[in-house]
Symmetry: C2
């Protein structure tokens, strides 16, 4: 799978990421992975739900994977939850 098919969800409004997902499918992608960490995980679920319910009726959630990443911070290494939502036809 190419990098183009990954959407990283951060702190911008939900619709920014929805647009990115919809655009990738419209450009011919068969699948898109929505990646997020920490508090952005809630927003990533919103992105998947809005994209599916409002714009991409034929797209399904194929899989959701959660994991823990170690990230270097000012206070040393901290654990952060991460999530990948796999969307496809």
């Amino acid at each position: 799978m190419e990098n183009d098919d990954i959407v990283y969800v951060g702190n911008k409004p939900v619709m920014n990421y929805v647009l990115a997902v919809v655009t990738q499918f419209n450009n011919g992608a068969d699948s898109v992975i929505i990646k997020s960490r920490g508090r952005a995980i809630s927003r990533a679920v919103d992105v998947a739900e809005v994209a599916r319910n409002r714009f991409l009726k034929d797209i399904e959630v194929k899989d959701i994977v959660i994991s823990t990443e170690k990230i270097a911070s000012e206070r040393g290494e901290i654990n952060v939850s991460s999530m990948e939502i796999f969307l496809g036809k």
Copy 2:
């Protein structure tokens, strides 16, 4: 599946819910569902990850389901994302 095997994640500290999950498995539950909505979804992922990585090494994430719920609010009906994390042996 009985109601006892569901943990609803809200705004309390992560460890409160981790303790609830661990307790249910220690009391003989074969599976526990972690339910959350809106911003608590990020915390629910933390709960699953901490419970698994620190306390319940033999427990796996069996499935994760996301959906949209309609909730009555002061401003009328609004859509809220929800998530269920199914933990089991």
